[in-house]
Symmetry: C2
C-alpha cells in the first residue's frame, strides 16, 4: 500500500493524508498576508452542525507587532521552536448558539466542528507548500486576555505555520523527534455494530 | 476565483474543499467492508495532542443486522433520509488520558482532535466517490447504551455515508434544501492580533 514519510497506509488513501505532518523546524521567513488568508479560506468551508461555523482564528505574522504577544501565550517548551514560525494562530470556538427564540444555548459540537475546520487549514497549508503544527500547550487564560476574547468562546489550540527547515536548526532533544509520527492500527479505532475497545 | 457547486472561494484553494458537501439523498446501495475501512484509514492519520488519537468509530453497513440498531439512535428527522445510507457511523472521542503516573485526567482537545479526524474521513469519502453527512441530531444516551460505550467516551456525532441519489428521491421539504451550503466571509472568522468579532 501507499508508503510516504515512513508511514504505511493499510488501505489505499489519497497521499495528502500521509504527507501532512507537524514539524518543529521552521525557517522564520515572512508569509504574505494574502498567502496566509488563502489557508483560512479552506478552513472556512468545513462542515458544522446547523452550519453554525463556530470556528474563529486570530493570527500574527512574523515581523509584525502582534507576533511576540501571541508567542507569549504558548508553553515555554513550544516557544522554543514556534518562535521561528512564519505565523502563529490561536484557534477559538464559539461555545454557544442563539436559538430562534433568542435564547443562548450550549452548542454541543463547537469543539468537534472547529477541529474539522482546523484539519482543512492543515491540509491546505500542506498543499500550498507550508507546514502547520497545532499545539495544545498554550496558556488558555492568558490567550483569552491577550487576544481580548469575550465569554462564550473557548481557546481550542495554537498553531505554528511556516516553511520547513533543516532539523539541525532545532535544539538537540527536539531534533531527535523531528519526524512524522505513527498511528494506532485501524483495528483499535474502528468497530462494527458495537464498541469493543478499551 | 474557484467556483464549484455554486460556491465561490475568495482565495485560491484546492478544489476538494469546495467539492465536499453533505447531501441527504442516498441510493442505499451496499458498500463493501474493505471500501468502508479504506475511508477510516484517512481518519487514522489526523493529528492530535500528544498523538493521543482519541477518535473511535462504530459502523453499521446497510444490509447487516447492525444497521437498524444504529439508525434507531438518530433523531427522527435524520432517520427519514439516513435510512438510505450505505453505512452509518457513530463517532466517539476518548475524553480522558492516562498520565505517566497512571492518573486519569481530562483530555482538553478530545473533541477538537476527533473533529480533525472526522474531516479526514469526510474528504477521503468524497475523494473515493462517496459522500458523507455528519449529524449532531443523535440521541447520545441511547447511542451509548445501544453501542455498549463505556464511561470516559463521548458521542460526538453520527455520520451517513453513501452514493448520492437524485434529490427527487427525498421528501419535499428536504428536496428543497438539497444543495451545498454557503459560508460566512473570512472577515467574520479571521482576525489579526486581537479578536474583534462578536
Amino acid at each position: 500500500m501507499t508508503e510516504i514519510n515512513h508511514r504505511r497506509a493499510d488501505h489505499p488513501i489519497h497521499s495528502i493524508f500521509l504527507e501532512r505532518w507537524s514539524p518543529r523546524a521552521f525557517t522564520g521567513e515572512e508569509i504574505g498576508e494574502k498567502d496566509l488568508l488563502a489557508l483560512f479560506e479552506a478552513a472556512r468551508w468545513a462542515p458544522s452542525a446547523s452550519n453554525l461555523q463556530p470556528w474563529r482564528f486570530v493570527y500574527a505574522r512574523h515581523g509584525t507587532e502582534h507576533f511576540a504577544r501571541l508567542l507569549s501565550t504558548l508553553d515555554e517548551g513550544n516557544q522554543r521552536w514556534a518562535k521561528n514560525a512564519s505565523a502563529l494562530v490561536i484557534i477559538l470556538s464559539k461555545t454557544h448558539r442563539v436559538t430562534s427564540t433568542g435564547e443562548l444555548r450550549p452548542a454541543y459540537t463547537h469543539a468537534f466542528d472547529t477541529g474539522a475546520s482546523w484539519f482543512a487549514l492543515a491540509l491546505q497549508t500542506q498543499l500550498a507548500g507550508w507546514h502547520a503544527h497545532a499545539m495544545a500547550g498554550v496558556d488558555r487564560e492568558k490567550a483569552m486576555q491577550v487576544l481580548g476574547v469575550p465569554e462564550h468562546y473557548r481557546v481550542e489550540a495554537a498553531v505554528a505555520i511556516g516553511r520547513i527547515a533543516d532539523p539541525s536548526t532545532l535544539p538537540g532533544d527536539l531534533r531527535e523527534r523531528e519526524k512524522p509520527s505513527q498511528r494506532k492500527p485501524v483495528s483499535e479505532l474502528v468497530f462494527e455494530g458495537r464498541f469493543t475497545g478499551e
